[in-house]
């Protein structure tokens, strides 16, 4: 198999094809800390794309309660187990082998799902979750690991759960694409969106088997596999609603908890992000480093990044998001002035924000979090479109208004 560079793992790895499939890449940041599991995103997707016969069990967007929940059930535990079995005791990181650009989280010394596969029988280690596993998408909702008598407090809760929001990661090195023996899956050059050609697909379900995130799904009524299409008519602005300006996807824009921010980033032939300091996604992932990939050790270089939940035991989070967790939580707990401003862009507009500008405001408060004192400034952040035009402006302090007393008595 050819070698490709996976910056999330800080090293080269085996992949069926040469890299460099995309020039721009669909990417998103999900702030787990803010999700309320309202499932508005899940319904937004379903009511747009998957409401027809044969799609009953499909949730291209799903929100599951960790650590017990999963759609399909136990998908992540199952893959981790398969990988561990293939490389017992070897699935470890070396956080010390680090480079700010090419290995920001350290180096993964274990094997990816491509490296545990033989390249003839399978291209990526995986399994097909049976139908029963897809039938309870919100199983174990709100189930905590414990109900501690003394309550729970930071930095790590004694009893905990959290919501994990999942869509297809439109991976830089998609396992679904590598696995398709008919080459019916392709990654678009202009935005890195991974699609299944519905004409070519023969329902072999090799993609269902290979995708470690289980985001390629089988549709019996057409005997083909389908997956999240990243709402590409919105992203590419061909949907009339967009009026020609790239728009975030349905699941993003519907988000009630304002946890999601999605956009397009520029990538080079190695799949590495080209420096774009004022792109909010670039800033959150590569500058502030508060958003981390989900199970990067699988090796697909997923493009949805998560701000990890602050209250969850670190070993669990490190397994899920890699060794960058501790720094990410620290940086999120006490955000810099810029980070705080950028976080305001989440769900400020339906349009894709390609850049931002910050106008400094006055100091409006002081906080003490985790023993650290921090000043709050009411800065204004301005979201820009791809031509530098202003889309939206928001302030750090949310504007409030007090209703006059006599109105209250009405």
């Amino acid at each position: 198999m050819p070698k490709v560079y996976n910056w999330q793992l800080g090293r080269e790895m085996d992949y069926r094809f040469e890299g460099g499939a995309a020039k721009r890449q669909f990417a998103a940041v999900f702030n787990i800390n803010r999700c309320i599991a309202c499932q508005t995103c899940s319904m937004a997707c379903k009511s747009t794309w998957t409401f027809s016969p044969g799609q009953e069990l499909m949730w291209w967007n799903n929100v599951e309660t960790k650590p017990y929940g999963g759609y399909p059930n136990h998908w992540d535990v199952n893959i981790l187990e398969l990988q561990e079995k293939a490389n017992p005791g070897g699935q470890v990181w070396d956080p010390a082998k680090k480079d700010p650009k090419t290995a920001p989280y350290g180096t993964f010394d274990g094997k990816t799902i491509f490296e545990t596969a033989d390249g003839v029988n399978t291209m990526a280690t995986g399994y097909i979750p049976p139908e029963a596993d897809w039938k309870a998408p919100n199983i174990h909702e709100d189930t905590s690991t414990a109900i501690p008598a003394g309550g729970a407090s930071l930095p790590e809760h004694a009893g905990w759960f959290f919501y994990l929001q999942r869509i297809c990661n439109h991976c830089t090195y998609p396992a679904c694409l590598a696995a398709c023996p008919r080459n019916a899956i392709y990654k678009r050059e202009e935005d890195g969106i991974v699609l299944i050609d519905q004409n070519r697909c023969r329902g072999y379900r090799k993609c269902v088997e290979a995708c470690p995130y289980k985001k390629s799904m089988y549709r019996p009524s057409t005997r083909t596999s389908e997956k999240c299409i990243a709402c590409y008519p919105r992203v590419e602005a061909s949907d009339p609603l967009t009026e020609g300006l790239p728009m975030e996807t349905r699941c993003m824009t519907a988000c009630v908890g304002k946890i999601r921010l999605q956009g397009l980033v520029q990538v080079d032939a190695n799949g590495e992000w080209i420096e774009d300091r004022k792109n909010p996604l670039y800033y959150l992932v590569h500058v502030a480093k508060i958003a981390l990939p989900l199970y990067p050790q699988f090796g697909t270089q997923p493009n949805v990044y998560y701000i990890p939940p602050r209250w969850v035991p670190r070993p669990y989070l490190r397994q899920m998001f890699g060794p960058g967790v501790d720094d990410a939580i620290a940086a999120y707990t006490n955000p810099t002035r810029e980070t705080l401003a950028v976080l305001q862009l989440f769900r400020a507009s339906q349009r894709i924000v390609f850049g931002y500008r910050i106008e400094q405001g006055p100091k409006t408060g002081e906080l003490n979090v985790g023993g650290q004192t921090r000043e709050i400034f009411n800065d204004t952040i301005i979201g820009l479109d791809s031509n530098g035009g202003e889309i939206v402006r928001v302030t750090v302090d949310e504007p409030t208004a007090e209703r006059p007393g006599q109105l209250n008595s009405l």
């Binding site: 016969p53 029988n121 008919r182 072999y204 009524s221 057409t222 083909t224």
Partner: protein
């Protein structure tokens, strides 16, 4: 010296003659070699065999048992569950009938659940008969293959899950137009509920298998007593580009592949045979397990002659050694 020269010249002439003769053979597509693979003879049937695998017409046709091996050549490799297919062939009314039978303890004829894969069988023919067979592995760039692919799930018909899970409660579907069956709307033949049991495909390389524009192969399968029996039928001549052609007295090659759905076999994960010879005999099927006396007598003569010769040489050698 002179003798040497004459000899050399003779050799040179000989070399040129061989090369030229080879060229002539290639140019005229004359292959002096005879295939010695397994062979299957399609005799003319006394009555219409139809598509029902248990039709009495098949009783007199003799089966050839073709060994299959796992496909280990290329991704997605696998298979190997089914080790033998038993094939028969007949012709009737200028139509070729091929009947394949193989052991399979499970009848997998639906692909409703994500983990369900269909049993299937395929026949492969060279797109055109030539002196050398194409790669059995989906053909090669300059020698295509024609594949007839029967799938148990296609034979059983395509249904929506709500028609299968009759107890399911559904609030309703906003629309059930074809547009919302995405693959169907995209023209995917396998998403079409009117798909026949057999798909005709053509290929010139691995991974380039395409559904032919002309679908003229019919087929029907039946599962009983832990075994599938499937009948394929196609008129001798076909309009389809790169479709195999047949005719009484003609000879071509045929290969087989079988998928066992319960073992998750699909695509390249299959048990496949090498090409064997298929000859279409002008004669009627020799009824009642017909005994071809000429062939058998000649064969027996060979067997006896060579055995005697072998034993003779052996004994002679042994005696000489003793001396």
């Amino acid at each position: 010296m002179l003798l040497e020269l004459v000899k050399r010249r003779r050799i040179a002439v000989g070399v040129v003659a061989v090369l030229a003769l080879a060229g002539v053979l290639q140019f005229t597509n004359t292959n002096p070699a005879v295939s010695q693979t397994l062979y299957l003879t399609a005799y003319e049937s006394g009555k219409d065999p139809g598509l029902n695998p248990s039709n009495g017409a098949w009783k007199d046709a003799v089966a050839v048992r073709v060994p299959l091996t796992a496909q280990l050549g290329s991704y997605a490799a696998g298979g190997g569950t089914v080790q033998t297919v038993s094939a028969k062939a007949l012709h009737y009314n200028d139509t070729l009938y091929v009947r394949v039978e193989w052991k399979d303890a499970t009848q997998d004829d639906a692909s409703t659940r994500v983990e369900d894969f269909s049993d299937a069988v395929a026949l492969e023919f060279p797109a055109k008969t030539a002196s050398t067979v194409p790669s059995v592995c989906m053909g090669q760039a300059d020698a295509g293959v024609n594949i007839w692919h029967w799938r148990a799930d296609s034979d059983a018909g395509l249904k929506d899950p709500v028609e299968i899970y009759t107890g399911a409660s559904v609030d309703g579907y906003p629309s059930t137009d074809t547009l919302f069956y995405t693959a169907r709307a995209a023209g995917n033949p396998y998403a079409n509920p009117d798909l026949g049991a057999v798909q005709t495909l053509v290929s010139q390389a691995f991974g380039q298998l395409t559904t032919s524009t002309v679908q003229d192969v019919q087929g029907k399968g039946a599962w009983a007593n832990d075994a599938w029996a499937v009948v394929f039928a196609r008129p001798y001549t076909s309009e389809g580009p790169d479709h195999a052609g047949f005719g009484a007295g003609a000879r071509t090659d045929i290969a087989f592949a079988v998928w066992d759905g319960s073992q998750d076999e699909r695509n390249g994960m299959k048990s496949a045979s090498q090409f064997i010879t298929l000859s279409i005999a002008g004669a009627k099927v020799p009824g009642g397990g017909g005994f071809n006396s000429t062939a058998v007598i000649l064969g027996a003569a060979m067997l006896i002659g060579f055995t005697a010769l072998g034993i003779g040489l052996g004994v002679y050698g042994y005696r000489e050694g003793k001396r």
